[in-house]
């Protein structure tokens, strides 16, 4: 994997019209670096990188990037929110034992799997899928 340079991250921010601050750069890079990280983990990582940030700045940055679609958030049951930089339609695979997570491509290819058996008249714009199970490391024998 290509290491994310500062300029990659700032290009990303500029590309969507956001001003570039040290905090946002570090937050974006943390999200790239730590896959499926929680806000807390991102906070820690950012502090490693730039010394200090407020929790609020991290939440703000994540929220802003989310609105600009360069960061995505999901909330697995029993966990706090997770952030990722892969923003296309995809799903997640989570181990009930150790909590490890993998990305999975959308089950129906590029078209999102937006068609339930009965849509009850709803206009559906997203199908969020989480596959729960046991990862290879946690499977006995």
């Amino acid at each position: 994997m290509t290491p994310t340079s500062v300029s990659d991250a700032s290009d990303m921010l500029r590309a969507v019209g956001l001003s570039v601050t040290a905090q946002r750069l570090a937050v974006y890079r943390a999200v790239v670096h730590l896959h499926h990280a929680t806000a807390d983990q991102i906070c820690e990582q950012v502090r490693h990188e730039i010394g200090a940030v407020s929790r609020q700045a991290v939440y703000d940055a994540l929220q802003t990037m989310r609105v600009h679609r360069i960061v995505r958030r999901f909330e697995p049951a029993g966990s706090s929110a997770r952030y990722e930089t892969r923003v296309d339609n995809h799903h997640h695979l989570i181990c009930r034992q150790c909590g490890s997570m993998c990305d999975v491509d959308c089950a129906k290819g590029t078209a999102p799997c937006l068609h339930p058996v009965d849509d009850h008249g709803y206009f559906i714009d997203e199908a969020e899928v989480i596959y729960w199970g046991t990862c290879p490391d946690c499977t006995p024998n």
Copy 2:
């Protein structure tokens, strides 16, 4: 829909080997009555019915019933946990505007849709699906 009598609920509890208490009865009936209710809503409903309960008793009862598979819990992003008495494999449809929720049968019929494009070696036991969209009442025109 058949109204849930006290004996329905106590039969349910006994059927899975749980002792029958006023609190559990009321909690179970509340979950039946209020579809997709939060713990807090259940608490209120139970208080209406039997006068008083501790929050803890409600959480304990829900947890116990969950373990015994007569109550199911799910946690839509941005909401606290929801409880329901329908325990077979099914999914949910949620309105982003008003938060209304519907049950949807499993997309693949009785067999759960347990097959992602790539399972990364995980043993999958559940596919949790939430369809996000706009309900008829919230759709303009």
